[in-house]
Protein backbone atom coordinates (compact mmCIF):
# COMPACT_ATOMS: atom_id res chain seq x y z
CA UNK A 1 0.00 0.00 0.00
CA UNK A 2 1.32 3.41 -0.91
CA UNK A 3 1.83 6.15 1.62
CA UNK A 4 -1.32 8.18 2.38
CA UNK A 5 -1.35 11.88 1.46
CA UNK A 6 -1.41 13.02 5.08
CA UNK A 7 -0.54 10.72 7.93
CA UNK A 8 -0.06 11.15 11.66
CA UNK A 9 1.98 8.00 12.22
CA UNK A 10 1.93 6.24 15.63
CA UNK A 11 1.63 9.53 17.51
CA UNK A 12 2.20 9.62 21.27
CA UNK A 13 1.97 12.91 23.13
CA UNK A 14 -0.07 15.46 25.07
CA UNK A 15 -0.52 19.19 25.69
CA UNK A 16 2.56 21.06 26.91
CA UNK A 17 4.43 18.98 29.44
CA UNK A 18 1.25 17.26 30.65
CA UNK A 19 0.56 13.53 30.53
CA UNK A 20 0.26 11.69 27.23
CA UNK A 21 -3.24 11.73 25.80
CA UNK A 22 -2.50 9.91 22.56
CA UNK A 23 -0.95 6.47 22.65
CA UNK A 24 0.55 5.18 19.43
CA UNK A 25 -2.35 6.64 17.48
CA UNK A 26 -2.35 6.63 13.69
CA UNK A 27 -4.62 8.81 11.55
CA UNK A 28 -4.32 9.16 7.80
CA UNK A 29 -6.20 10.45 4.79
CA UNK A 30 -5.72 9.57 1.13
CA UNK A 31 -6.10 11.87 -1.84
CA UNK A 32 -9.73 12.51 -2.78
CA UNK A 33 -11.10 10.79 0.31
CA UNK A 34 -12.98 11.70 3.46
CA UNK A 35 -11.52 10.29 6.66
CA UNK A 36 -13.52 10.53 9.86
CA UNK A 37 -12.38 10.22 13.46
CA UNK A 38 -15.12 9.04 15.81
CA UNK A 39 -15.20 7.73 19.33
CA UNK A 40 -16.71 8.28 22.76
CA UNK A 41 -16.34 11.53 24.70
CA UNK A 42 -12.81 12.13 25.90
CA UNK A 43 -11.34 9.57 23.51
CA UNK A 44 -8.87 12.12 22.17
CA UNK A 45 -10.55 12.69 18.81
CA UNK A 46 -9.91 16.43 18.69
CA UNK A 47 -6.53 15.91 20.32
CA UNK A 48 -5.61 13.48 17.56
CA UNK A 49 -6.48 16.02 14.94
CA UNK A 50 -4.64 18.79 16.76
CA UNK A 51 -1.61 16.54 16.91
CA UNK A 52 -1.71 16.16 13.15
CA UNK A 53 -1.91 19.97 12.91
CA UNK A 54 1.02 20.49 15.26
CA UNK A 55 -0.82 21.96 18.21
CA UNK A 56 0.68 19.57 20.75
CA UNK A 57 4.02 18.02 21.50
CA UNK A 58 4.67 14.59 20.09
CA UNK A 59 6.97 12.44 22.14
CA UNK A 60 6.90 9.66 19.58
CA UNK A 61 5.72 9.28 16.03
CA UNK A 62 5.70 11.63 13.10
CA UNK A 63 3.42 13.59 10.78
CA UNK A 64 4.01 13.41 7.06
CA UNK A 65 2.34 15.46 4.34
CA UNK A 66 2.77 14.21 0.79
CA UNK A 67 5.79 12.22 1.87
CA UNK A 68 7.46 15.17 3.60
CA UNK A 69 8.12 14.98 7.34
CA UNK A 70 6.46 18.03 8.92
CA UNK A 71 6.60 16.88 12.56
CA UNK A 72 8.73 19.85 13.61
CA UNK A 73 6.68 22.56 11.89
CA UNK A 74 4.44 25.01 13.77
CA UNK A 75 0.71 25.13 12.89
CA UNK A 76 1.28 28.41 10.99
CA UNK A 77 3.98 26.80 8.86
CA UNK A 78 1.70 23.84 8.19
CA UNK A 79 -0.92 26.26 6.82
CA UNK A 80 1.71 27.53 4.41
CA UNK A 81 2.49 23.90 3.47
CA UNK A 82 -1.13 23.48 2.42
CA UNK A 83 -3.07 22.31 5.44
CA UNK A 84 -6.40 23.99 6.13
CA UNK A 85 -7.74 23.76 9.66
CA UNK A 86 -11.18 24.71 11.00
CA UNK A 87 -11.20 24.77 14.81
CA UNK A 88 -14.28 23.63 16.69
CA UNK A 89 -15.01 26.96 18.39
CA UNK A 90 -14.26 30.62 17.67
CA UNK A 91 -13.46 29.69 14.10
CA UNK A 92 -14.63 32.96 12.50
CA UNK A 93 -13.94 36.68 12.96
CA UNK A 94 -17.33 37.63 14.38
CA UNK A 95 -16.95 41.41 14.04
CA UNK A 96 -15.89 41.25 10.40
CA UNK A 97 -18.04 40.74 7.34
CA UNK A 98 -18.27 37.37 5.60
CA UNK A 99 -16.16 38.67 2.74
CA UNK A 100 -13.51 40.04 5.10
CA UNK A 101 -13.39 36.65 6.82
CA UNK A 102 -12.59 35.06 3.49
CA UNK A 103 -9.99 37.75 2.74
CA UNK A 104 -8.29 37.04 6.04
CA UNK A 105 -8.28 33.36 5.15
CA UNK A 106 -6.27 34.30 2.08
CA UNK A 107 -3.88 36.46 4.10
CA UNK A 108 -0.82 34.36 3.29
CA UNK A 109 -1.56 34.49 -0.42
CA UNK A 110 0.11 37.21 -2.40
CA UNK A 111 -1.53 36.33 -5.72
CA UNK A 112 -5.02 37.24 -6.85
CA UNK A 113 -7.54 35.20 -4.86
CA UNK A 114 -10.72 36.48 -6.52
CA UNK A 115 -11.24 33.17 -8.36
CA UNK A 116 -11.00 31.16 -5.17
CA UNK A 117 -13.55 33.46 -3.58
CA UNK A 118 -15.92 32.96 -6.49
CA UNK A 119 -15.52 29.18 -6.13
CA UNK A 120 -16.33 29.39 -2.44
CA UNK A 121 -19.39 31.52 -3.15
CA UNK A 122 -20.49 28.87 -5.67
CA UNK A 123 -19.98 26.19 -3.06
CA UNK A 124 -21.78 28.12 -0.31
CA UNK A 125 -24.34 30.34 -2.07
CA UNK A 126 -25.69 31.66 1.24
CA UNK A 127 -22.33 33.28 1.92
CA UNK A 128 -22.54 35.28 -1.29
CA UNK A 129 -25.95 36.52 -0.23
CA UNK A 130 -24.60 37.62 3.16
CA UNK A 131 -21.15 38.71 2.06
CA UNK A 132 -21.41 42.22 3.56
CA UNK A 133 -22.99 41.09 6.81
CA UNK A 134 -20.97 40.66 10.01
CA UNK A 135 -20.16 36.95 10.37
CA UNK A 136 -21.19 37.06 14.04
CA UNK A 137 -24.77 37.83 13.02
CA UNK A 138 -25.17 34.60 11.06
CA UNK A 139 -26.81 31.37 12.24
CA UNK A 140 -24.76 28.46 13.53
CA UNK A 141 -24.80 26.53 10.25
CA UNK A 142 -23.91 29.63 8.24
CA UNK A 143 -21.04 30.41 10.60
CA UNK A 144 -19.64 26.93 10.01
CA UNK A 145 -19.82 27.57 6.27
CA UNK A 146 -17.89 30.82 6.79
CA UNK A 147 -15.33 28.90 8.84
CA UNK A 148 -14.89 26.24 6.17
CA UNK A 149 -14.81 28.91 3.46
CA UNK A 150 -12.10 30.81 5.34
CA UNK A 151 -9.95 27.68 5.54
CA UNK A 152 -10.50 26.95 1.83
CA UNK A 153 -9.21 30.39 0.82
CA UNK A 154 -5.59 29.24 1.06
CA UNK A 155 -6.45 26.54 -1.53
CA UNK A 156 -5.30 23.89 0.93
CA UNK A 157 -4.13 20.46 -0.20
CA UNK A 158 -5.95 18.90 2.73
CA UNK A 159 -8.80 20.21 4.89
CA UNK A 160 -9.17 19.36 8.57
CA UNK A 161 -12.50 19.94 10.31
CA UNK A 162 -12.93 19.69 14.07
CA UNK A 163 -16.57 18.77 14.74
CA UNK A 164 -18.11 20.92 12.02
CA UNK A 165 -21.65 20.01 13.06
CA UNK A 166 -21.29 20.69 16.79
CA UNK A 167 -24.31 22.53 18.11
CA UNK A 168 -26.38 22.74 14.93
CA UNK A 169 -29.82 21.26 14.32
CA UNK A 170 -30.18 17.88 12.51
CA UNK A 171 -31.48 19.56 9.34
CA UNK A 172 -28.54 21.97 9.22
CA UNK A 173 -26.25 19.05 10.00
CA UNK A 174 -27.45 17.16 6.91
CA UNK A 175 -26.90 20.26 4.81
CA UNK A 176 -23.41 20.75 6.18
CA UNK A 177 -22.55 17.12 5.40
CA UNK A 178 -23.77 17.68 1.83
CA UNK A 179 -21.53 20.71 1.55
CA UNK A 180 -18.57 18.78 2.94
CA UNK A 181 -19.11 16.05 0.35
CA UNK A 182 -19.17 18.75 -2.32
CA UNK A 183 -15.86 20.13 -1.05
CA UNK A 184 -14.42 16.62 -1.14
CA UNK A 185 -15.64 16.23 -4.75
CA UNK A 186 -13.50 19.22 -5.73
CA UNK A 187 -10.58 16.92 -4.95
CA UNK A 188 -9.55 18.12 -1.51
CA UNK A 189 -8.96 15.29 0.98
CA UNK A 190 -10.86 15.89 4.22
CA UNK A 191 -10.01 14.73 7.70
CA UNK A 192 -12.72 15.39 10.24
CA UNK A 193 -13.69 14.71 13.82
CA UNK A 194 -17.37 13.97 14.38
CA UNK A 195 -19.72 13.45 17.29
CA UNK A 196 -22.47 12.17 15.03
CA UNK A 197 -20.70 8.90 14.33
CA UNK A 198 -23.36 7.20 12.21
CA UNK A 199 -23.92 10.03 9.71
CA UNK A 200 -20.22 10.74 9.54
CA UNK A 201 -19.28 7.11 8.83
CA UNK A 202 -21.92 6.99 6.11
CA UNK A 203 -20.06 9.62 4.11
CA UNK A 204 -16.58 8.45 5.13
CA UNK A 205 -14.18 6.56 2.92
CA UNK A 206 -12.07 5.79 5.95
CA UNK A 207 -13.07 5.71 9.61
CA UNK A 208 -10.99 5.73 12.78
CA UNK A 209 -12.58 4.77 16.08
CA UNK A 210 -10.45 6.09 18.91
CA UNK A 211 -10.72 4.93 22.50
CA UNK A 212 -8.53 6.35 25.26
CA UNK A 213 -6.23 7.99 22.76
CA UNK A 214 -5.50 4.82 20.82
CA UNK A 215 -6.85 3.25 17.63
CA UNK A 216 -9.65 0.83 18.55
CA UNK A 217 -11.07 0.10 15.10
CA UNK A 218 -10.02 1.20 11.66
CA UNK A 219 -11.70 0.53 8.35
CA UNK A 220 -13.82 1.95 5.59
CA UNK A 221 -16.96 3.73 6.70
CA UNK A 222 -19.11 0.83 5.53
CA UNK A 223 -17.00 -1.77 7.30
CA UNK A 224 -17.21 0.08 10.58
CA UNK A 225 -20.95 0.59 10.24
CA UNK A 226 -21.32 -3.13 9.62
CA UNK A 227 -18.95 -4.24 12.39
CA UNK A 228 -21.15 -5.59 15.18
CA UNK A 229 -18.69 -4.61 17.88
CA UNK A 230 -18.47 -0.99 16.69
CA UNK A 231 -22.24 -0.88 16.40
CA UNK A 232 -22.69 -2.19 19.90
CA UNK A 233 -20.18 0.10 21.56
CA UNK A 234 -20.56 3.37 19.69
CA UNK A 235 -23.56 3.43 17.44
CA UNK A 236 -26.20 2.27 19.89
CA UNK A 237 -26.84 -1.21 18.44
Amino acid sequence: MSEPFLIGDSMTGGYGNGPDILHDCTIAVNKGEIAVIVGPNGAGKSTGMKAVFGMLNLNKGSVRLDGEDITALSPQDRVVKGMGFVPQTSNIFTSMTVEENLEMGAFIRRDDYKDTMTQIYDLFPILKEKRYQAAGELSGGQRQQVAVGRALMTQPKVLMLDEPTAGVSPIVMDELFDRIIEVARTGIPILMVEQNARQALEIADKGYVLVQGANAFTGTGKELLADPEVRKSFLGG
Binding site: V79, F85, F107
Partner: protein
Protein backbone atom coordinates in the same frame (compact mmCIF):
# COMPACT_ATOMS: atom_id res chain seq x y z
CA UNK B 1 -37.12 85.68 17.32
CA UNK B 2 -33.94 87.74 17.55
CA UNK B 3 -33.74 86.65 21.17
CA UNK B 4 -33.61 83.03 20.11
CA UNK B 5 -30.87 83.82 17.63
CA UNK B 6 -28.92 85.58 20.36
CA UNK B 7 -29.47 82.62 22.66
CA UNK B 8 -28.24 80.24 19.97
CA UNK B 9 -25.16 82.35 19.28
CA UNK B 10 -24.35 82.50 22.99
CA UNK B 11 -24.86 78.74 23.21
CA UNK B 12 -22.58 78.13 20.23
CA UNK B 13 -19.94 80.46 21.56
CA UNK B 14 -19.74 79.05 25.06
CA UNK B 15 -20.94 75.46 24.70
CA UNK B 16 -21.14 74.01 21.21
CA UNK B 17 -17.83 75.14 19.71
CA UNK B 18 -15.70 74.54 22.81
CA UNK B 19 -17.36 71.18 23.43
CA UNK B 20 -16.91 70.05 19.83
CA UNK B 21 -13.22 70.92 19.74
CA UNK B 22 -12.63 69.45 23.22
CA UNK B 23 -14.60 66.37 22.18
CA UNK B 24 -12.45 66.01 19.08
CA UNK B 25 -9.28 66.12 21.22
CA UNK B 26 -10.69 63.55 23.63
CA UNK B 27 -11.83 61.34 20.76
CA UNK B 28 -8.33 61.32 19.25
CA UNK B 29 -6.86 60.44 22.64
CA UNK B 30 -9.49 57.76 23.29
CA UNK B 31 -8.88 56.23 19.85
CA UNK B 32 -5.27 55.60 20.86
CA UNK B 33 -6.33 54.01 24.15
CA UNK B 34 -8.94 51.86 22.49
CA UNK B 35 -6.57 50.63 19.75
CA UNK B 36 -3.99 49.54 22.32
CA UNK B 37 -6.72 47.83 24.30
CA UNK B 38 -8.08 46.07 21.22
CA UNK B 39 -4.73 44.79 19.94
CA UNK B 40 -2.40 44.54 22.93
CA UNK B 41 -5.24 43.89 25.38
CA UNK B 42 -4.34 46.23 28.20
CA UNK B 43 -5.27 49.73 29.35
CA UNK B 44 -2.30 51.91 28.51
CA UNK B 45 -1.96 54.41 31.33
CA UNK B 46 1.10 55.90 29.68
CA UNK B 47 -1.10 57.25 26.89
CA UNK B 48 -1.59 60.69 28.49
CA UNK B 49 2.14 61.12 28.78
CA UNK B 50 2.69 59.79 25.27
CA UNK B 51 0.46 62.68 24.21
CA UNK B 52 2.60 65.03 26.33
CA UNK B 53 5.79 63.65 24.80
CA UNK B 54 4.44 64.05 21.27
CA UNK B 55 3.28 67.58 21.96
CA UNK B 56 6.62 68.41 23.53
CA UNK B 57 8.58 67.19 20.49
CA UNK B 58 6.27 69.20 18.26
CA UNK B 59 6.82 72.29 20.41
CA UNK B 60 10.59 71.93 20.32
CA UNK B 61 10.54 71.65 16.52
CA UNK B 62 8.09 74.58 16.36
CA UNK B 63 10.50 76.77 18.33
CA UNK B 64 13.30 75.68 16.04
CA UNK B 65 11.24 76.64 12.97
CA UNK B 66 10.25 79.94 14.57
CA UNK B 67 13.90 80.73 15.27
CA UNK B 68 14.67 80.02 11.63
CA UNK B 69 11.86 82.35 10.64
CA UNK B 70 9.77 79.57 9.05
CA UNK B 71 6.04 80.14 9.45
CA UNK B 72 2.86 78.65 8.07
CA UNK B 73 1.10 81.92 7.17
CA UNK B 74 -2.12 82.31 9.12
CA UNK B 75 -1.88 78.75 10.46
CA UNK B 76 0.21 77.80 13.50
CA UNK B 77 3.77 76.70 12.76
CA UNK B 78 3.09 73.73 15.04
CA UNK B 79 1.20 72.07 12.17
CA UNK B 80 4.42 72.05 10.14
CA UNK B 81 6.33 70.68 13.10
CA UNK B 82 3.77 67.97 13.88
CA UNK B 83 5.13 65.35 11.42
CA UNK B 84 8.49 65.55 13.18
CA UNK B 85 6.79 65.22 16.55
CA UNK B 86 4.95 62.16 15.25
CA UNK B 87 8.19 60.58 14.02
CA UNK B 88 9.90 61.19 17.37
CA UNK B 89 6.94 59.70 19.25
CA UNK B 90 6.87 56.68 16.95
CA UNK B 91 10.51 56.14 17.85
CA UNK B 92 9.68 56.43 21.54
CA UNK B 93 6.76 53.97 21.54
CA UNK B 94 8.67 51.45 19.43
CA UNK B 95 11.53 51.77 21.91
CA UNK B 96 9.27 51.19 24.94
CA UNK B 97 7.56 48.32 23.16
CA UNK B 98 10.82 46.66 22.20
CA UNK B 99 12.48 47.01 25.60
CA UNK B 100 9.51 46.97 28.01
CA UNK B 101 6.20 45.60 26.73
CA UNK B 102 7.66 42.90 24.48
CA UNK B 103 9.25 41.16 27.46
CA UNK B 104 5.88 40.86 29.19
CA UNK B 105 4.11 39.89 25.98
CA UNK B 106 6.47 36.97 25.51
CA UNK B 107 5.76 35.89 29.09
CA UNK B 108 2.06 36.03 28.22
CA UNK B 109 1.63 38.36 31.21
CA UNK B 110 -1.92 39.05 32.40
CA UNK B 111 -3.49 42.36 31.30
CA UNK B 112 -3.36 43.70 34.85
CA UNK B 113 0.42 43.25 34.91
CA UNK B 114 0.73 45.16 31.65
CA UNK B 115 -1.41 47.93 33.15
CA UNK B 116 1.02 48.29 36.03
CA UNK B 117 3.94 48.19 33.58
CA UNK B 118 2.30 51.00 31.62
CA UNK B 119 1.98 52.96 34.88
CA UNK B 120 5.74 52.67 35.27
CA UNK B 121 6.26 53.85 31.70
CA UNK B 122 3.87 56.72 32.47
CA UNK B 123 5.93 57.95 35.45
CA UNK B 124 9.17 57.74 33.51
CA UNK B 125 7.73 59.56 30.50
CA UNK B 126 6.21 62.19 32.75
CA UNK B 127 9.58 62.79 34.38
CA UNK B 128 11.31 62.81 31.01
CA UNK B 129 8.97 65.44 29.59
CA UNK B 130 9.30 67.69 32.63
CA UNK B 131 13.06 67.20 32.58
CA UNK B 132 13.34 68.27 28.96
CA UNK B 133 10.82 71.10 28.69
CA UNK B 134 10.19 72.03 32.33
CA UNK B 135 7.01 71.82 34.38
CA UNK B 136 5.65 75.24 33.40
CA UNK B 137 3.17 76.46 30.84
CA UNK B 138 4.62 76.71 27.34
CA UNK B 139 3.19 78.88 24.60
CA UNK B 140 3.86 77.93 21.04
CA UNK B 141 0.82 78.99 19.06
CA UNK B 142 1.25 81.65 16.41
CA UNK B 143 -0.51 82.73 13.21
CA UNK B 144 -4.04 84.16 13.16
CA UNK B 145 -5.79 83.88 16.51
CA UNK B 146 -9.34 83.92 15.21
CA UNK B 147 -11.26 82.71 12.20
CA UNK B 148 -14.13 84.90 13.36
CA UNK B 149 -13.66 87.25 16.31
CA UNK B 150 -16.46 88.59 18.50
CA UNK B 151 -16.23 92.07 17.04
CA UNK B 152 -16.26 90.85 13.43
CA UNK B 153 -19.21 88.61 14.14
CA UNK B 154 -21.22 91.43 15.72
CA UNK B 155 -20.46 93.77 12.83
CA UNK B 156 -21.36 91.03 10.36
CA UNK B 157 -24.70 90.02 11.85
CA UNK B 158 -25.75 92.99 13.96
CA UNK B 159 -26.64 90.64 16.81
CA UNK B 160 -26.07 91.62 20.43
CA UNK B 161 -24.25 88.37 21.21
CA UNK B 162 -20.81 87.81 19.77
CA UNK B 163 -19.33 84.58 18.51
CA UNK B 164 -15.65 83.80 18.52
CA UNK B 165 -14.25 80.92 16.50
CA UNK B 166 -10.59 80.44 17.29
CA UNK B 167 -8.20 79.22 14.59
CA UNK B 168 -7.07 76.46 16.94
CA UNK B 169 -10.66 75.26 17.32
CA UNK B 170 -11.13 75.21 13.58
CA UNK B 171 -7.86 73.33 13.10
CA UNK B 172 -8.77 70.87 15.84
CA UNK B 173 -12.08 70.01 14.25
CA UNK B 174 -10.76 69.78 10.69
CA UNK B 175 -7.71 67.74 11.70
CA UNK B 176 -9.80 65.38 13.81
CA UNK B 177 -12.20 64.77 10.93
CA UNK B 178 -9.33 64.06 8.52
CA UNK B 179 -7.53 61.79 10.97
CA UNK B 180 -10.67 59.82 11.82
CA UNK B 181 -11.57 59.34 8.15
CA UNK B 182 -8.02 58.23 7.38
CA UNK B 183 -8.01 55.83 10.33
CA UNK B 184 -11.33 54.22 9.40
CA UNK B 185 -10.28 53.96 5.79
CA UNK B 186 -7.10 52.21 6.92
CA UNK B 187 -8.90 49.81 9.28
CA UNK B 188 -11.68 48.91 6.87
CA UNK B 189 -10.08 49.03 3.47
CA UNK B 190 -6.43 48.03 3.66
CA UNK B 191 -4.99 44.56 4.11
CA UNK B 192 -2.92 45.61 7.13
CA UNK B 193 -5.87 47.40 8.71
CA UNK B 194 -8.10 44.39 8.28
CA UNK B 195 -5.44 42.13 9.73
CA UNK B 196 -5.39 44.42 12.79
CA UNK B 197 -9.15 44.05 13.20
CA UNK B 198 -8.89 40.30 12.70
CA UNK B 199 -6.16 40.08 15.35
CA UNK B 200 -8.24 42.14 17.75
CA UNK B 201 -11.30 39.97 17.07
CA UNK B 202 -9.77 36.50 17.38
CA UNK B 203 -6.08 36.21 18.11
CA UNK B 204 -5.79 32.43 17.61
CA UNK B 205 -7.61 32.40 14.30
CA UNK B 206 -5.52 35.36 13.14
CA UNK B 207 -2.38 33.33 13.86
CA UNK B 208 -3.87 30.37 11.97
CA UNK B 209 -4.52 32.68 9.02
CA UNK B 210 -0.86 33.57 8.89
CA UNK B 211 -1.16 37.09 10.34
CA UNK B 212 2.13 38.11 11.96
CA UNK B 213 1.33 39.36 15.49
CA UNK B 214 4.56 41.33 15.90
CA UNK B 215 3.79 43.29 12.74
CA UNK B 216 0.25 44.01 13.88
CA UNK B 217 1.58 45.23 17.23
CA UNK B 218 4.17 47.44 15.53
CA UNK B 219 1.66 49.04 13.16
CA UNK B 220 -0.67 49.63 16.11
CA UNK B 221 2.02 51.46 18.05
CA UNK B 222 2.87 53.60 15.03
CA UNK B 223 -0.78 54.63 14.60
CA UNK B 224 -1.16 55.25 18.32
CA UNK B 225 1.96 57.43 18.34
CA UNK B 226 0.53 59.53 15.50
CA UNK B 227 -2.87 59.82 17.20
CA UNK B 228 -1.33 60.73 20.56
CA UNK B 229 0.93 63.39 19.07
CA UNK B 230 -1.90 64.94 17.09
CA UNK B 231 -4.25 64.90 20.09
CA UNK B 232 -1.59 66.31 22.42
CA UNK B 233 -0.53 69.06 20.02
CA UNK B 234 -4.12 70.09 19.29
CA UNK B 235 -4.92 70.21 22.98
CA UNK B 236 -1.78 72.23 23.64
CA UNK B 237 -2.59 74.66 20.83
CA UNK B 238 -6.19 75.08 21.93
CA UNK B 239 -5.55 75.42 25.67
CA UNK B 240 -1.91 75.51 26.68
CA UNK B 241 0.87 72.99 27.10
CA UNK B 242 1.71 71.97 30.63
CA UNK B 243 3.09 68.48 31.31
CA UNK B 244 0.84 67.86 34.33
CA UNK B 245 -2.31 68.66 32.37
CA UNK B 246 -1.85 65.45 30.40
CA UNK B 247 -1.86 63.38 33.55
CA UNK B 248 -5.25 64.88 34.37
CA UNK B 249 -6.39 64.49 30.79
CA UNK B 250 -5.91 60.74 31.16
CA UNK B 251 -9.17 60.63 33.13
CA UNK B 252 -11.58 62.04 30.53
CA UNK B 253 -9.68 60.17 27.79
CA UNK B 254 -10.16 56.84 29.55
CA UNK B 255 -13.72 57.73 30.46
CA UNK B 256 -14.37 58.41 26.76
CA UNK B 257 -12.82 55.10 25.68
CA UNK B 258 -14.73 53.11 28.31
CA UNK B 259 -18.04 54.90 27.78
CA UNK B 260 -17.80 54.17 24.06
CA UNK B 261 -16.76 50.57 24.66
CA UNK B 262 -13.07 49.65 24.91
CA UNK B 263 -11.75 48.23 21.68
CA UNK B 264 -14.34 49.97 19.51
CA UNK B 265 -12.95 52.90 17.47
CA UNK B 266 -16.43 54.23 16.71
CA UNK B 267 -17.22 54.06 20.42
CA UNK B 268 -14.10 56.07 21.28
CA UNK B 269 -15.34 58.93 19.11
CA UNK B 270 -18.87 58.81 20.49
CA UNK B 271 -17.43 58.57 24.01
CA UNK B 272 -15.14 61.56 23.44
CA UNK B 273 -18.03 63.79 22.45
CA UNK B 274 -20.30 62.44 25.20
CA UNK B 275 -17.74 63.28 27.85
CA UNK B 276 -16.86 66.66 26.34
CA UNK B 277 -20.46 67.81 25.97
CA UNK B 278 -21.41 66.65 29.46
CA UNK B 279 -18.40 68.35 30.98
CA UNK B 280 -18.97 71.65 29.21
CA UNK B 281 -22.76 71.68 29.61
CA UNK B 282 -22.74 70.81 33.28
CA UNK B 283 -20.12 73.38 34.17
CA UNK B 284 -21.52 76.17 31.97
CA UNK B 285 -23.43 79.05 33.57
CA UNK B 286 -26.70 79.00 31.65
CA UNK B 287 -27.93 82.39 32.88
CA UNK B 288 -27.15 84.24 29.66
CA UNK B 289 -28.82 81.72 27.37
CA UNK B 290 -31.79 81.36 29.71
CA UNK B 291 -32.35 85.10 29.92
CA UNK B 292 -32.85 85.28 26.16
CA UNK B 293 -35.19 82.34 25.94
CA UNK B 294 -37.56 82.62 28.91
CA UNK B 295 -39.96 85.55 29.50
CA UNK B 296 -38.41 88.48 31.32
CA UNK B 297 -40.20 87.84 34.61
CA UNK B 298 -38.75 84.32 34.75
CA UNK B 299 -35.18 85.47 34.18
CA UNK B 300 -32.91 83.61 36.63
CA UNK B 301 -31.12 85.48 39.43
CA UNK B 302 -28.41 82.89 39.85
CA UNK B 303 -25.82 81.75 37.33
CA UNK B 304 -27.74 78.52 36.63
CA UNK B 305 -24.50 76.59 36.80
CA UNK B 306 -24.90 72.99 37.86
CA UNK B 307 -21.30 72.51 38.90
CA UNK B 308 -18.30 74.78 39.30
CA UNK B 309 -15.66 74.32 36.58
CA UNK B 310 -13.25 73.17 39.29
CA UNK B 311 -15.22 69.95 39.41
CA UNK B 312 -15.22 69.27 35.69
CA UNK B 313 -13.23 66.05 36.08
CA UNK B 314 -15.91 64.76 38.45
CA UNK B 315 -18.29 64.76 35.49
CA UNK B 316 -16.21 62.16 33.63
CA UNK B 317 -16.13 60.04 36.77
CA UNK B 318 -19.88 60.16 37.25
CA UNK B 319 -20.57 59.25 33.62
CA UNK B 320 -18.01 56.48 33.88
CA UNK B 321 -19.72 55.04 36.94
CA UNK B 322 -23.18 55.25 35.40
CA UNK B 323 -22.01 53.50 32.24
CA UNK B 324 -20.14 50.82 34.15
CA UNK B 325 -23.22 50.18 36.30
CA UNK B 326 -25.78 49.95 33.52
CA UNK B 327 -23.82 49.07 30.38
CA UNK B 328 -20.44 47.70 31.41
CA UNK B 329 -19.24 47.03 27.87
CA UNK B 330 -19.90 50.63 26.83
CA UNK B 331 -22.28 52.20 24.34
CA UNK B 332 -20.80 50.31 21.37
CA UNK B 333 -20.32 46.97 23.15
CA UNK B 334 -16.56 46.71 23.31
CA UNK B 335 -14.61 43.83 24.80
CA UNK B 336 -13.98 43.03 28.40
CA UNK B 337 -10.82 41.11 29.19
Amino acid sequence: MIDFLNAFVALSNFVLIPAISYGAQLALGALGVTLIYGILRFSNFAHGDTMAFGAMCTILVTWLFQSWGISFGPLPTALLAMPFGILATMGLVLFTDRYVYKFYREQKAKPVILVIVSLGVMFILNGLVRFIIGPNDQRFSDGERFIISVREFKALTGLKEGLAFKTTQGITIVTAVIVVIALFWFLNRTRTGKSMRAYSDNEDLALLSGINPERVVMVTWLIVAALATIAGTLYGLDKSFKPFIFLQLLLPVFAAAIVGGLGSPLGAIAGGFTIAFSEVMITYAWKKVATYVVPESWAPDTLVQLLSTDYKFAVSFVILIIVLLFRPTGLFAGKSV
